[in-house]
């Protein structure tokens, strides 16, 4: 699915985000791709290829808690994790790198997020010329009992980022 010899996208200049993502992709450096984004580091995101799935994990940290009395993860962190997982999926699978711009994100919260690591994956349901639809799910110990699901629509046009 991945092509290590990705051609340079037109318009990329040395040191830009797109160029650095391209470099990380060439090395199959999933974590390097994520570490380029400050907010991803703030959330504590990691990524790994498991089989043919790119799984994004949000390592538990006390700063992610939204409800101290349960305790439970802040719903926004689950949304951000799933949005990120979808973006990494798009960056990873696309032949030409375009920074996806989120148009809409819809999150269903299914269960309280326990104070543990949370995993997420995005699956492209439709890849269009201008927009891409992605479904996401986030789970903890049991993948069959997701804590949240989501779907998002991204604008993926070259030269729009």
């Amino acid at each position: 699915m991945t092509t290590p010899d990705e051609p340079e996208p037109a318009g990329a200049t040395p040191g830009t985000l797109i160029e650095r993502i391209t470099a990380a992709k060439a090395l199959h450096d999933y974590q390097g791709m994520i570490d380029l984004v400050p907010y991803a580091r703030f959330l504590g995101l990691t990524a790994a290829m498991e089989g043919d799935e790119l799984i994004t994990t949000m390592r538990y940290g006390a700063h992610l808690i939204g409800n101290r009395s349960l305790p439970a993860l802040h719903g926004g962190t689950l949304g951000a994790l799933m949005e990120s997982a979808a973006i990494y999926e798009l960056l990873w699978r696309s032949e030409t790198i375009v920074l996806p711009k989120t148009i809409t994100l819809t999150i269903d919260f299914l269960r309280p997020g326990a104070p543990v690591d949370t995993h997420a994956r995005g699956v492209v349901t439709r890849q269009g010329r201008r927009v891409t639809n992605v479904r996401m799910e986030a789970w903890q110990a049991d993948r069959n009992a997701p804590v949240a699901t989501a779907h998002a629509i991204f604008l993926v046009m070259r030269g729009q980022s």
């Binding site: 984004v37 907010y39 009395s69 148009i103 809409t104």
Partner: protein, 148 residues
């Protein structure tokens, strides 16, 4: 302000805010809580950047603020506090927030029933008419003794 319920609602919301470590981590400031409405400020912070080329905030930070702000709007519409759980949240991103400046969130609970609360919210910078993101949410109200 003359409504004594406002003070009750403000107290409920401010008490609730102490139970939200993630709001503190984001640097969120509660600007105002009035009848059924909450206003949050998300100050610009380099750690929340999504695109290091432009310095634009990551959408996730705005999502988290609008989620929290919407929840507080629900608290601000209660006269007796019960726990709530977000059922769903949809966010439309209209444009990137301008780097270096705060993003504000204003949420309103426009319908509160026995079981469910309905909210809408906007994120903006210059003014409420200059919208960065728009969100609608639903929340489940817990029964008083039971859980959500």
């Amino acid at each position: 302000m003359a409504d004594p319920d406002d003070e009750v609602k403000r107290k409920i919301a401010n008490a609730a805010s102490r139970f939200v470590p993630h709001n503190e981590a984001l640097g969120i400031r509660i600007v105002d809580i009035v009848d059924g409405e909450a206003v949050f400020e998300l100050p610009y912070d380099a750690k929340l950047v999504g695109n290091p080329d432009t310095g634009a905030l990551h959408g996730g930070a705005i999502t988290a603020m609008l989620d929290g702000c919407s929840g507080f709007a629900v608290f601000a519409s209660m006269t007796e506090r019960v726990p709530i759980a977000t059922l769903d949240l949809r966010i439309d991103y209209l444009k990137a927030a301008e780097p270096g400046r705060s993003v504000f969130g204003r949420a309103r609970c426009y319908k509160l029933t026995r079981n469910v609360a309905f909210t809408r919210a906007v994120a903006y910078q210059d003014g409420i008419d200059d919208v960065v993101a728009h969100a609608v949410g639903t929340f489940m109200l817990s029964t008083k003794q039971g859980k959500a």
